[in-house]
Structures are given as C-alpha cells and as structure tokens.
C-alpha cells in the first residue's frame, strides 16, 4: 500500500509539474546533449493487500476499534479498569480480547491470500530485452522504458507502446475480453518507421501522464537516427497495448513499457471494493440500538432509584455498612456519574460482545459449505464454487432481483448451426453424410428435395454473405492444424470434418456468422478466405470457386440485415443478403415468403436465432449504378450514414428468398429451469446484455423468461423512431402508454415479493436498449428525467421479465443502482462472467461471477463465483435460504439469551439497594457467552436445516417465506424480546419466591445470595439451551454433542469452580455453592419447574404454529405428484384457510 501511496503522490506531484512524461526506450538516452536523468516512475508492482507484517498489529487494531461495537466494548473495559465497578475488568476484557483476536486472525488470513494473489501477478515471468539479450524477469521488475516481449495468448504485463510485431504488416491482434468484455479481435499498429533492430533503436517517447480512460492516449515518439534530426511520430490509442489485454493471432510482439504497476490504465480503473453490508447486519445494528436504549434506560432507572432510595434516612449508610473515607469525599455528582457507569457495566452484557465473534465465525465457517458443495463442482473446468466474501451469505436468501448477463451467462456463447430451410424444405445436418438430409419436417412429407441448384445457391450465399476472417494459425498450432489438414485431405475434404478442425479458424465480430460458415461447411461448402478482395470457396466437388467481393453492405441494427455484392467467376454479379425475417420478407417476392415463414416461426419458437437468406442478380447496368451510388455515399461528408442507408435500402429490394437458417446460441445447462425456479421463488429476473435486441430476445424466449403469451413492451431506438416524431416526444408517449398498460390497468399487486404471477392477467415483458435508457436517464429537463425514471421503474417492476439490451457496462450498473435504491430497497444480485459485468457485480448487493471463458475479472470482483449458471438455483434456494434462516435465528437468539441473562440482574437491583451487586459470580458472567451458551447456537447456525435441501430445491416458493428480511423484522424481534423478558422475570421471581424462606436444605441450613444467583443461572443456562434445542429441526450428532455437552460442561465447570479454594482469588464466593445447591431438593424442584414454565409458551407456540406449515408442506409434497394434485388442492386449501389463492397454481406447477 505504501508503494501505491508513493506512486500516487509522485503522480500527483508530477501532474503539478509537467503534464507529460518522457520515456527513453530501452533506457537509451538520445544523442542529445542534455544530461540523461532517468526519471523515476513507480515499478510494475500491483498491491492490493492492506497490511504488511510490520504494520499489521497497529493498523488492524485501529481498524477494528473503529467499529462502533468494538469501541463500545473497549470503553466498557476501560471504565471497569478505572472506576470501581461491580465486575472485574476481566469479565469484559476477556471476551473483547477473544473477539479482537479472532477477527485479527481472520483478516490476517484474508490479507495473506491477497498477498499471495498479488505475488502471483507480480512474480509472473516476462521477457525483457536488455542490451540485445532476452532476460526473464518477474513482472514486478518491469520498469518504464523496458522493452518487453509478449507472446501469443499472453497478457500484457503493463501498458506498452507497440514497437514491433511478427506480423508482416506491423499489426497485432488483441482481445480486450478481460478488460471490457469485447471478445472480438482488435487490431493495433506498430509505430511506423521503427528499425527492425530494437537494440539500435534510440527513441524517446513523450506521452501524457497516466489517466484512467481506456480509449484515450496521446503521445509522440522521437526517433533518433545517427545525428539526424529526430523523426517524430504521433502515438494514439491504436499504438497502446493495455495491461490486461491478451495478444492473439500474433506470434510475438515487442513493446516499450510506458505505464507500469499502479499507473497502468487498468490499475487506475481499480476501485476498491466497497464494503458490502448485508441487510442482516443492518438489522443487527438496529437491534443493537434498541438494546443500547434498554441498557441506558436501565442504568438511568437504577441510578435514579438508587438516589431516591438513599435519600431516606438510614438507608445510604447504615451503621453496619459504612463508606470509606474516599467514598465520602467524592463529589456527589461525580458519584452519580460513576454509579451510572457502574450500572452500565453491570448490564453491559445485554449487548453481546460474543455475538459479533459468533456471527463472524458463522459466516466464515458457513461459507465453506458453499466451497465444499460438490453440486457446484464442474468437471469441465475442474473447479467448484468460490467464496470471496463471507459477509453476504445470508443475503443470498434475500434476493429479489437478479440481473443477469446474457452472453456466457445465460448462453454458452457458442453458436451452433441447427438447421436450415431451402426453398421451404427443411434440412438438418445432424447426420454427417455427404448428402444433405431431409428431415421429417412438417412440410417435407414427400421427402422432396429442393433443387440442387437452389441448395448450392443457398450454401454459396452462406459462404459469401459474411465478414468472417479465416484465422491464420501460428506457431505450435500450425503443426497441429497441418497435421489435421493432411489427415483430412487423405480422407477427402468434404467427407468428415474433424471437430478440431472445425474449431480452427474463423474470426468474426458475431459468433452467428461463424456458425453459419461452419454450417455451410457441413454441407460441403468451405470458405477458404478472403485474399485481396477475392473470396475463395471450396465447393462440393472440391473445386475452388473464386468470387470478387465488390461491396459489403454492413449490418446495422435498424436495417437488421447485411448484404454482399460479389462477382462470380462466370462474371455474374450477385447480391446476397441475410437478415432478420421481418426485414427480409418485405423485400422479397411475396409468393416465396409463405413457404419459409412457417419454418422461421417454428424455429423462432424453439428459441433459435433465425436468419433469412435472399439473393438477386444484378445486371451490368444495375451494378454500375449501385456501385456509383455507394461510392458517392461513402464519400459524402455530410449525413453519410443516412445516405448510405438510403442506398442500401434501395439496393436490397426485389430479391428472391432462398431459405432460412436456424442457429442456436446454446443456453447454459438448465438455464431455463434455473430461471423458472428463480421466478418461482419470487425473484424478478432482468437480463442486461450488450448484445443485440433480437438475439437477446430469442434467448429470453429460450430460457422462458418471456412466454408466448407475454406481451412485450418495447422501448428501443426502433420503436422510438417509429412515429417519425422527435424521439423525446415519442419516449414520453411510449412511457405513458406502457405505464398505463402495465401499472394502472394491472390489478393491484400485493405489496412485497408476492407477485401475482400466477394470475390469469396478461404478463408483460419489457425491452429497453442502451440508447433509450440513456434518454430515460439523461432527459433534458431534470423534472421529467426523474419522472421518466419513475415511470420506467414502475413499468419494470410490474413486468415479469425485463430485457435491457445494448447496455454499456456502466449502464448495467446504473440500472442495478436504480433498482437498488428504489422503494423498499430490494436486495439485488448480479451475475455475469465477463469484465463488462464487473461494474454491475460490484454495484449489486450480491455479485456472482461465472467461471466462464472470458477471463477472471468477474470472478475476482464477485462475492461468490460459481462454474455454471445452473448452480445459482442451489446457491440461492438452498444455501441462501438456509444461511438466512440460520443467521437470523442466531441474531435473535443472541439478543434473547442476553436479555434473559441480564434481566434478573437488573431486577435484583431492586432488592439490594441499587448497589450494583451482581447476581451472578464473575466467572459465570464471563463464561456465559463464551462457553456455556455459545457452542450450541454456533452449531445450530452452521448445521440447521429447518427444511431439507431437497425440499428447498423442489419448492422454489419456500424462498418467498423468508423474503424481505422476514425473520429479522420488528415483529419477530418483539417476540424474541418479550420471550426474553418473560424468561428473565420467571427466573428471577421464581427463585425470589423460593427464597422467601432461604432454609432450603433438609438440615435447616440457609442459602445466601450466591446460591440465589447460581440457581437463577442454572435455570438460565438450561432454559436457554433447551430453547435452542426446541428450535433445532435438524439434529446431527454435532448438535447433540454440543447441546448436551454444553450443559454437561456447565455442570462440570460449576463443580470444578466451586470445588477448589482458588489461591489467586480474593473471594471464594462460589465455594461449594453449586454442590450445596444440588443437595437441596427444593432447588432441584424449582429449577425443573422454572425451566418447564419458561419453555411452556414456546412449546405451545410451536404446536399451535407447526401443524399448519407442516401440514401445508405435506400437501405440497402430495401436489408434486400431478395426478394427486387436482384432487387434493380444494380440500387441502379449504382446511388451510390462510393460504392465499394466488398460490394454488404454482404449488402445482
């Protein structure tokens, strides 16, 4: 950290002085006269750890005591040390020490992990050119000005200016997938006119100071050549290779480091993970406040009463109990104050120190169950789930909104050609024979086949109409691929296409295009590549066909189609066009449409991405005209886009439809089931994607977020431009209209998560794209903006699913933030796999990373990482649910047990002249929370399964029962508090009545005040433990061991503590008190009686409550058998009575 600080300081200092930095490439000073002063830049070390060995202790202690609770306990401890208080400092010092130590160990361990991660990055070996030699170095040792060598598929260790590439044309390809999520290849250029011999290169680079914008870079390079005037080249972002990006498709590059370590653009974008606090923690703090109020008011009441009581003559200082001289001399007000503090100390146990440590331990240990779960283990990547934060376990049980990325999360980002339809006849390539198969589609009953000519035309169209590049294999790959090619050659190219061969080679901005080209390959048409405007195709007869690529009419989302104009070897000029059905159909001959429409619609229903393919011949004249128009439009300086569009639209008319394709973006395994389960659990799923609307929409259909019956409300650039009016007006109009539809006309939805999704009403799905969203957010006038935002939010909240497409990463975060801050502040969860999802992962309450193919960004920034989307179901429905129930119970129980622990002590003040006399011995005060009652609740909070995991997974609706922090709201809190008060009162007054005659032994001997306290304490420990036993629904041997073990330990300890004269103790208060207590039958009887009496209401409560839910559960399980369902439902629900009608269908679902 210090390092970072230094860098930052240096950075800011630099900025004040100069706004550019000078870098000597390879540390060679130019032949200039000025003295070479190597500028000081920070090294390439990445530091994310917080502590070092040296500053750990003071810094960690400081951090810990900044926590309000710890500070409070420290104060109590100090008060005990300074003021004459009823309990020794040990009673609160020991637990505090325990808490601090455990937390320090945990944080130390976490920081150690961070150190390890840092080291992994910092020690990664890189190659640096020094004096013409290649030297292996650790990544952290790279200095600004070093010439670094990077090989294919390596990531750049720092920000580099590209000097040299192995590619002939001085370019290199990189993918910034781990930076911004774009997985396509980007081309970067070397600085022109660089000598091939880097050793001899003498150059200086002047560039701006580090700044976080990834897409901006300004600099210039001065190249010195043998005393000539230096040549100056300007540098832009196209010359800059960013740390974190990966070199692709290029064997090797050399670059000079310009920004290193914490100054790289990526590091500057680093935003410390803000501390996420769970809702449970907020509840704890609220409860804590209540208890603090109780504590203070108790102390106040006692102090006041003490002085009232003392004002009566003879009470304050009777002859038998005189004060010391010092006490007499103390100022009255000071005495009052110290009395108040003493009471605070006496009652401070009501705020449980140990709760924090137990909660921390529960979270820490509990999170192991996620990492251990073998259901999360993915054999493909050989990894299980990863827990980055243990603070949010319970939040997983509270999720109301899930924001999911599409590509790589919902889908595998792995397009596959499914089938095609040529001239109304369906073909499916599942069978890999040479001949195309005609499957038994609904149309092709007669096994008819389209004409061979049509087939080939269609396939040629697929092969030509795209912008795919063929990947040039390099290095090691080369041999491998060559081997394969040879082999394939031997077998005949068009026969069997090896899987691995299919995988080589195509680069495209859209995976669909690759899928189509590969699809064509299966039918024997192979795209060989584009060489200087000539496309080569290997046709079925193994002949190479050549086409001149004349024009590419690029894809755009408004036209939703693309075309190419090619000239075949025979001299024909052809236009091939492919695009969405809606954009193709109006442009082809009407009679052709019907045959194909059916297929397209069927395919779309199945969730495939469909494209229609059409063509037309262009005669020489036509082409000449088109050519001229296109060229003109391209050169236009004004309204170029509009002009181009007009030409495109004009050209793409009068085509004939050849066929349609269906490509599947494979959904992740069980994506639809997972989504269904989440919706069943009352969670709203929003898809946020950077992808095109059509694609995203079809994915939504495929994973059943949108149903056939769902009415889609679209707010996209397309709909906004429909009306032909200004976009703002249209936006306003649409928002109002949708709002009317979805919000006002919809029946009032019950507050809370229970959404009437099973009602017969129309389901709405909302679609918005990035451009429209920014209009909603940044509308011109402020008032309408917030108004739009509200409308938008309300519409979205009433829709079953929301799809936001064409989102920039920041917009994703914006949406999450908007929902997060909306009314009722719902708990949000973001799930994604790429770096573009990082912003929303960090923004949401819970961020989940998918261990996908696109780097580790998402995983590292997430709170939890899982290998597959399908794991989300168990993570939320089972783990989340259980964690929430566990911790909620833990929290409530802790407050309860401390309330009934301290209440008797408070009541005792009324009987001891408000003298702060503790009821319990110091050992009991200290041990109560640490030893006697801590383990059972910890075991409970780790192991409890009030409903079995299978049942939780089966019935997603169970998730709703705990929604909205159900177990930690004021209602349950009040219940627990009243229970605590009831127990405390029963304990105290039960024993009080017994002690109206303290002669409790059969030899007539009497009990004193310590016996009184011990009896109360015994009842307390047993009641509190048995209360937990009553709540435990899942008794493993550990629970048995811990619960009965705790009680046994209490008894054992009491005997032990009272059985010895402790030499270091000044008072032997408990000497044989416990044993004597047990020798009294009355004590036994009163203990049994009070325990039973205390638990009686609890048992009653459970009995009166349980039959219903238990019964309901039975009914549900019966309903899982569909046949039984219809028969049981009416009667079952009649008897349940309270079940809302809206639940019926989904119970059966």
């Amino acid at each position: 950290m210090s390092n970072v600080g230094e860098c930052m300081m240096e950075l800011s200092g630099d900025e004040r002085r100069v706004d550019s930095r000078t870098i000597y490439v390879g540390h060679q000073s130019g032949p200039t006269n000025e003295a070479f002063i190597p500028p000081k830049f920070c090294d390439n070390r990445i530091v994310s750890s917080k502590y070092t060995v040296w500053n750990f202790l003071p810094k960690n202690l400081f951090e810990q005591f900044r926590r309000i609770a710890n500070f409070y306990f420290l104060i109590i401890f100090l008060v005990q040390v300074i003021v004459d208080t009823p309990t020794s400092p040990v009673t609160s010092g020991l637990p505090l020490f325990f808490v601090i130590t455990v937390t320090a160990i945990k944080q130390g361990y976490e920081d150690w992990l961070r150190h390890k991660a840092d080291n992994e990055v910092n020690k990664y070996p890189v190659t640096v050119l020094e004096d013409g030699r290649r030297i292996r170095k650790e990544s952290e040792k790279i200095k600004v000005g070093d010439v670094v060598e990077v090989e294919e598929d390596e990531t750049f260790p720092c920000d580099l200016i590209l000097l040299q590439s192995t590619r002939d044309d001085g370019t290199c390809f990189v993918t910034t997938a781990s930076l911004d999520g774009e997985s396509n290849h980007k081309t970067h250029y070397t600085v022109p006119d660089i000598e091939t011999d880097l050793e001899a290169l003498s150059a200086t680079i002047e560039c701006e100071q580090p700044q976080p914008d990834l897409y901006k870079f300004v600099g210039r390079m001065q190249i010195h050549k043998n005393n000539q005037d230096p040549t100056v080249r300007s540098l832009g972002p196209e010359n800059l290779l960013l740390k974190g990006a990966t070199l692709k498709n290029t064997q090797k590059i050399h670059g000079v480091a310009v920004y290193t370590g914490m100054e790289t653009k990526m590091a500057l974008n680093y935003q410390g993970k803000s501390q996420k606090r769970s809702a449970v923690e907020k509840s704890i703090n609220a409860f804590l406040l209540v208890y603090l109020c109780i504590l203070v008011s108790k102390a106040l009441v006692c102090t006041t009463l003490k002085y009232v009581w003392q004002s009566k003559p003879g009470q304050d200082e009777p002859w038998y109990n005189e004060k010391t001289q010092r006490e007499k001399d103390t100022n009255q007000y000071l005495k009052m104050f110290t009395d108040f503090l003493s009471f605070m100390v006496l009652f401070n146990f009501i705020i449980p120190v140990s709760m924090y440590v137990t909660v921390e331990m529960q979270k820490f240990l509990g999170s192991f169950f996620i990492a251990w779960d073998k259901d999360f283990y993915d054999p493909e990547i050989k990894e299980g789930a990863l827990v980055n934060t243990s603070d949010l376990n319970e939040e997983l049980g509270q999720v109301e909104y899930v924001f999911t990325d599409k590509t790589g999360t919902l889908t595998q980002n792995n397009m596959e050609f499914i089938e095609c339809c040529i001239d109304g006849i369906q073909y499916s390539p599942r069978d890999r024979s040479i001949e195309m198969d005609v499957t038994d589609g609904p149309v092709s009953k007669l096994q008819q086949r389209a004409g061979r000519e049509m087939e080939e035309l269609f396939l040629r169209a697929l092969c030509l109409c795209h912008t795919v590049q063929v990947k040039e294999s390099t290095g090691q790959d080369q041999d491998q691929v060559d081997g394969h090619v040879d082999q394939v050659d031997g077998l005949g190219v068009d026969e069997v296409l090896d899987e691995s061969q299919e995988q080589i080679g195509f680069i495209a901005s859209s995976p669909d295009e690759v899928a189509l080209v590969k699809g064509a390959m299966r039918y024997g048409f192979r795209f060989l590549g584009l060489e200087s405007k000539t496309m080569k195709i290997l046709n079925r007869n193994n002949d190479v066909e050549m086409y001149d690529l004349l024009h590419v009419l690029n894809f755009d989302p408004v036209r939703r189609r693309m075309s190419v104009i090619v000239r075949s070897g025979s001299g024909d000029t052809l236009l091939f066009c492919k695009g969405a059905d809606s954009s193709i159909f109006p442009r082809v001959k009407k009679e052709e449409v019907e045959r194909i429409r059916m297929h397209v619609e069927r395919n779309a229903t199945e969730g495939y991405r469909t494209l229609c393919v059409a063509y037309k011949y262009l005669c020489e004249d036509e082409y000449a005209q088109v050519d001229a128009e296109l060229r003109e439009a391209r050169l236009a300086l004004q309204d170029r886009d509009e002009k181009l569009m007009a030409v495109y639209n004009q050209v793409e008319t009068g085509m004939s439809l050849i066929g349609a394709t269906a490509v599947e973006d494979r959904l992740q395994e069980e994506a639809a089931e997972t989504m269904e389960a989440l919706q069943g659990a009352g969670i709203k799923v929003w898809v946020l994607t950077g992808d095109k609307m059509e694609t995203a929409k079809s994915t939504c259909y495929a994973c059943r977020l949108f149903q056939r019956s769902t009415e889609l409300l679209e707010l996209t650039v397309r709909t906004l431009e429909d009306g032909g009016r200004r976009r703002e007006e249209r936006l306003h109009e649409l928002l109002i209209e949708y709002h009317k539809k979805a919000v006002q006309d919809a029946p009032p939805v019950k507050a809370g998560v229970r959404r009437s999704w099973a009602s017969t009403n129309q389901d709405y799905g909302f679609i918005i794209d990035g451009a429209s969203l920014s209009m909603v957010f940044n509308s011109s006038s402020d008032s309408s903006s917030s108004n739009y935002k509200n409308l938008f939010l309300q519409i979205c909240q009433n829709c079953t699913a929301v799809l936001c497409c064409r989102m920039a990463p920041l917009q994703k975060a914006q949406i999450v933030k908007m929902v997060k801050n909306s009314k009722g502040s719902p708990i949000t969860l973001s799930i994604g796999d790429g770096a573009n999802d990082v912003s929303m992962i960090l923004e949401a309450h819970v961020g989940i990373g998918i261990k996908g193919k696109e780097g580790r960004q998402a995983v590292r920034n997430s709170d939890y990482a899982i290998p597959k989307l399908k794991h989300l179901k168990k993570l939320l429905l089972a783990h989340g649910h259980l964690y929430y129930v566990r911790i909620a119970h833990l929290v409530q129980y802790f407050f309860y047990k401390n309330l009934c622990f301290i209440l008797p002590q408070f009541l005792y003040q009324f009987f001891c002249g408000y003298s702060q006399q503790p009821l319990y011995d110091a050992a009991y005060l200290t041990m109560y929370n640490i030893c006697f009652t801590s383990m059972p609740i910890l075991a409970y909070s780790l192991l409890e399964q009030h409903i079995s995991i299978d049942a939780l997974l089966d019935k997603a609706t169970l998730y709703r029962e705990i929604g909205k922090n159900a177990m930690l709201r004021w209602g349950p809190f009040l219940y627990w508090t009243l229970l605590g008060i009831f127990h405390g009162v029963v304990f105290f007054f039960g024993v009080r009545l017994l002690f109206s005659n303290p002669a409790l032994q059969d030899n007539g001997q009497v009990f004193g005040n310590w016996s009184y306290g011990t009896i109360v304490f015994t009842v307390l420990v047993f009641t509190v433990t048995l209360k937990l036993a009553l709540d435990t629904r899942h008794w493993t041997w550990i629970n048995h061991f811990v619960i009965w073990g705790s009680l046994a330990f209490y008894v054992f300890f009491s005997f032990f503590w009272g059985g010895i004269i402790w030499p270091f103790m000044s008072q032997q208060r408990l000497y044989f008190v416990f044993a004597n207590m047990l020798s009294s039958v009355s004590a036994w009887l009163v203990i049994i009686l009070l325990i039973l009496l205390s638990l009686l209401p609890e048992i009653l409560f459970v009995v009166f409550h349980k039959p219903r839910s238990h019964h309901a559960r039975q009914v549900i399980s019966q309903c899982l058998l569909p046949a039984a369902c219809s028969a049981v439902m009416p009667t079952a629900f009649a008897c349940l009575g309270e079940c809302s009608t809206s639940e019926h269908p989904n119970l059966c679902a």
Partner: protein, 367 residues
C-alpha cells in the same frame, strides 16, 4: 465509460489461471463427505399436537401429585415466629431498643413469653430473622477477606483493601476484617420451657451443625497451627462493634475463632434484605417426648443488636424442617398450578387436534 471498477490484483486473469499453484489448488474436487455436503444423518423432530399431547398429560400427571406432596409437606411444617424488635411500647424489648449504645457495658435483657399450641415433634431449628438489612449490598458483600478467613497469616496482619473502612482500627489490623464481620449478629437468645408445675426449664440449644460443612472445615480456618488462638491472633484487634475478640467467641476450641459457626453463618451473606439465619438447633432427645411440647415458653433476649436505626426488624423463628427445607408453600402451589395448566392445555390440545385430525383425514381420503 466503463472505467470505474477493476480490482488491481485482478488484472491478469489469465496469468492467475495458468499459474500452477492456483490451478492445482482450485481443481481439487470437493470431498463427498456427509459433513461437507451438509448431509449428516439427522434426527428431525417435528413438534406437533400429536407428539406434545402426551407430554402435557404426563407433565400434568406428574406435577400435580408432586405439588400436592410439597404443599402438604410445607403445611405440616410447624413454624413459630416472634418479632422482638420492640417497636411498640407494649413490647417487652421496647426499653432495650430505645436506649441502646454499643459501648454500654451492662447488657440489656428482655423476656418474651409465648405459647406453643402444637407440640414440635422432630428437631426444631431456631432462626433469627432480620428485615430491611441489606446484607446483599455490594459494598457490604465485598467487604471481607476470604484469605484472612482461610487462615492466611499474611492477610491476617494485612487485610485486603476490600475490608475498608473496617480493615484497620487504631493502626492495628482487624480480625476478622470487613463490614460483614463487624456487623455480626450478637443478640443472645435463650429459650425456657415453663413447666405447668411452675419450674422454668432451659431448653438446650446446639450451636454446631448450623453452618455448611465445607465452610466450617475448609473455607474458614484459624490462622497458624497454634492451638492457642490468643497467640494466633496476636497483633490484631477485634472489630469495632464486637464486645469480645474473635478468639473468645466460644469456649469450645472447635467452635472458636474463625470457625465459630455463628460467625460462619453470618458471613454467608443473605440474598434478600429480609432473611433468616440458622441460630441454634434443638435436638430431639427422646422419641417418646416431643422436642417442644405444647405449652408456655419464655424467650430471653440479650438485646445487643440495633436495628431501629435503619427501620429494621428482628425476629426469632422456631421451625421444624422437612426434606424440602423450611416452610414454603410456594413450590407446592407452583407445581400444582403448572401441573393443572399443563393438564388443561392437554385437554384443549386434544380437542384441537381432534378437529384437525378430522380435516386431515378428509384430505387424505380424497387423495
């Protein structure tokens, strides 16, 4: 635009993945143990009316008899209480209570006659009771030195600070020190049976066996091994309010000094401001004759202990003892009440369960 959020350590995702350490570390497949998969075999009790019903009945059936037993036992215990504070003018101890001073050398004696209507058959326990005496006051409770009482010579000469302001008197350590010891109850109570034939018969009172055995034999010990207590307590002074030094509490060496049982009993601080402490035991001598036959008695009090200053009361209690201790109807009543409540609840639950059961059955039938 997307530049807000990257974690520094996370940049080189690929590097980390390819790092051998990380790879092997994470590729470990989770172990398929019952514990780690949260599938430990477990007993899953569900409390329902059906399971709880018998428990309620059983509790009821057990508690009610116990309660009755306790109640009867408590009622059979005979207890007689005399308040001899002397608040009223008519009270025999009025005079003593009025002109009281610690320094008076002549003890004030008062005689209280009383009549026992029923004979006390078994051993009779004689208690003294004090009211509004805060033996449980914090300043009071801690004002003692247990190591001194345990015979520690060092503490004898140098009492603990806790004993202040009763630690030193005239620069000499107080033995036993502290407020508790200083305020030891020092009334002398004697009991006489007024024979119908006119003679006054003193009833022998046993002053041992009134303190906890462990207190007497372990917790309290005289300092040093010297059987001569006077020498053992050399250099200390008696508590201010005491008339005699601690080594003159009793003539019996086994009941003298710190191990004097009256003293030990007093040192066990009471739980509540109104308390009783065991004073003497009247042993039953003869199985044929009741310990205290019906008749007239006289209580002779050497009135030393002032309670009027703090509105306190003094009383003497004569009580027999049962297996459950002294007379206290609370337990019996409580047990009977809880037992009956349980029983009643059982009945209520039975009715409810019956109704539920029917509905449940109908659902099952339709299934």
């Amino acid at each position: 635009m997307m530049a807000t959020s990257y974690s520094a350590k996370d940049e080189d995702g690929h590097i980390t993945v390819s790092g051998p350490g990380a790879g092997t570390l994470r590729s470990k497949k989770p172990e398929n143990t019952a514990f780690k998969q949260q599938r430990l075999p477990a007993w899953q009790p569900i409390l329902t009316a059906g399971t709880v019903l018998p428990a309620f009945f059983i509790i009821g059936l057990i508690f009610i008899p116990i309660g009755i037993g306790l109640y009867v036992t408590s009622n059979n215990i005979k207890e007689f209480e005399i308040d001899y504070t002397g608040v009223d003018m008519s009270s025999p101890c009025f005079n003593c209570s009025q002109n009281y001073s610690w320094n008076s050398t002549r003890p004030c004696t008062c005689t209280i006659p009383f009549y026992l209507e029923t004979p006390y058959e078994s051993n009779v326990f004689m208690y003294y009771g004090l009211s509004n005496f805060y033996q449980n006051h914090r300043r009071y409770v801690k004002s003692r030195d247990d190591s001194q009482l345990n015979g520690d010579v060092g503490s004898l000469q140098k009492p603990s600070k806790e004993c202040e302001p009763y630690a030193y008197h005239e620069n000499r350590p107080v033995a036993p020190c502290g407020a508790i010891a200083n305020s030891m109850f020092n009334d002398t109570l004697e009991l006489f049976y007024n024979n119908p034939n006119g003679t006054k018969l003193q009833i022998p009172l046993t002053s041992t066996g009134i303190a906890w055995w462990t207190d007497k034999h372990v917790k309290f010990r005289n300092p040093g091994n010297d059987p001569n207590l006077t020498a053992a307590f050399q250099g200390t002074t008696k508590p201010v309010n005491w008339r005699r030094p601690v080594y003159e509490l009793d003539s019996d060496p086994e009941n003298n000094g710190f191990i004097n049982e009256d003293f030990i009993v007093w040192m066990r601080t009471a739980a509540l401001p109104t308390f009783r402490k065991l004073y003497r035991i009247i042993q039953k001598k003869n199985s044929m004759v009741p310990t205290l036959p019906r008749g007239n008695y006289t209580l002779e009090v050497v009135y030393n202990y002032p309670v009027r200053r703090f509105e306190g009361r003094k009383r003497v209690i004569l009580s027999t003892i049962s297996w459950m201790g002294g007379k206290n109807p609370f337990l019996g009543i409580a047990y009977m009440t809880v037992g009956s409540v349980c029983f009643l609840l059982g009945v209520v639950l039975l009715i409810i369960h019956h109704k539920y059961g029917n509905r449940n059955n109908s659902a099952d039938i339709s299934n």
